[in-house]
């Protein structure tokens, strides 16, 4: 008896099963203890329905910051790319001041 997570782990790592045709997948699923609802979601390759039936939800998956200029050292205490060059007048003024 395999549950849905075991089955997907096996499917992900099995050369034949990962490429299974709908009929092969139906056959493989029939040997498991997976509910018919989940089986049909899997056969329909409907990941959202699988998520819903398992009670999990879509997650945020962003862990890379774009680092907008001026985000400030408090928010971006990492080596941000230097801010874009100043427009020419501001640059001249800046040089005059420094």
């Amino acid at each position: 008896m395999l549950d849905v997570i075991d089955f997907m782990e096996r499917m992900g790592g099995d050369a034949q099963l990962s490429q299974a045709s709908p009929s092969e997948l139906t056959l493989a699923l029939a040997d498991t203890g997976i509910s018919t609802e989940l089986q049909s979601a899997m056969l329909a390759r409907d990941a959202q329905q699988v998520e819903m039936l398992l009670g999990t939800k879509a997650v945020c998956m962003l862990v890379a910051p774009p680092g907008p200029p001026g985000f400030g050292p408090h928010h971006a205490p990492f080596p941000v790319a230097p801010p874009p060059p100043l427009p020419e007048e501001e640059w001249e003024q800046y040089q005059g001041e420094h």
Binding site: M8, C60, L62, G67, F71, H75, F78, A81
Partner: protein
């Protein structure tokens, strides 16, 4: 700083993109042998899978809150992992894909743990980039390949090489300067289109790509014209691939130099 501190360690590993398909034996062993596992994964089903590998898996998901700066969220994630390292635990951070590809948190956590004298390292994983080369039949060596975080193309003046592939990450939140949103709308993507239109014709093909995260899925591969990219449905998990728009130009000056060198060493050129 105590460089000889022995207890407490951090390893960041990648689970790969597709459940069951990409997790390597070394990464799996790190997960199984850790005292505490932290997880930032691509979907809830994959989290259920990871929960089977260790009794103490702590999801980093609750730190994300729309409206809060993602930068604060990232620091909280780093802080949560480091607190356990400092408590003397063997900590394993598990991230989907490759833990070091477009992923600030694992790099920062490792850097900080090392600075505090703890052993910390990263194990590579299979990233979205790896999957797209396979699914789209692209060899980055054929014409070269530039990768950009999409917002960076808007915030900064970057140089795009339209004779190479261009791969854009995090297009789903492109242009979000606040770093508080989980998506931005078509108007923001239109700014991206306008920036890209400096280098590409609007009828140039772009590919919307999403690798399968569950083995029952097929990758999303949608080819559209650049001009309609703003109207396309693009979420957090999509990557945009832009094939070269122009042939590479020969560099006669350098070729002449190389020819002269060839002659000098007696090579036919």
């Amino acid at each position: 700083m105590d460089a000889t501190r022995s207890s407490g360690s951090l390893v960041c590993v990648g689970l790969g993109m597709t459940l069951g398909a990409h997790l390597g034996p070394l990464a799996r062993s790190h997960i199984e042998q850790a005292d505490v596992v932290f997880a930032a994964l691509s979907d809830g089903v994959v989290e259920l899978w990871l929960n089977r590998m260790h009794a103490d898996v702590r999801s980093l998901q609750p730190y994300y809150r729309e409206g809060c700066s993602r930068m604060d969220t990232y620091w909280q994630m780093v802080g949560a992992m480091l607190a356990e390292v400092r408590a003397g635990k063997r900590v394993c951070g598990v991230f989907y894909g490759h833990p070091g590809v477009f992923a600030w948190v694992p790099h920062k956590a490792i850097e900080m743990a090392r600075n505090e004298g703890y052993h910390a390292h990263m194990e590579p994983g299979v990233s979205a980039e790896d999957c797209l080369y396979a699914d789209l039949g692209i060899d980055p060596g054929a014409y070269g390949c530039q990768h950009f975080e999409a917002s960076q193309l808007l915030f900064y003046q970057r140089r795009i090489d339209p004779t190479a592939y261009l791969i854009l990450w995090q297009v789903g939140v492109v242009g979000d300067q606040s770093m508080t949103r989980f998506s931005t709308n078509a108007a923001y993507r239109q700014v991206l289109v306008d920036v890209l239109a400096r280098d590409y014709p609007l009828d140039h093909e772009v590919i919307i790509y999403r690798a399968a995260t569950l083995p029952i899925e097929r990758p999303r591969i949608e080819r559209i014209a650049l001009g309609v990219l703003a109207q396309a449905k693009i979420g957090m998990a999509e990557t945009i691939v832009i094939p070269p728009a122009r042939p590479m130009q020969a560099d006669p000056e350098i070729l002449a130099r190389l020819n002269a060198l060839d002659r000098a060493v007696g090579m036919p050129s």
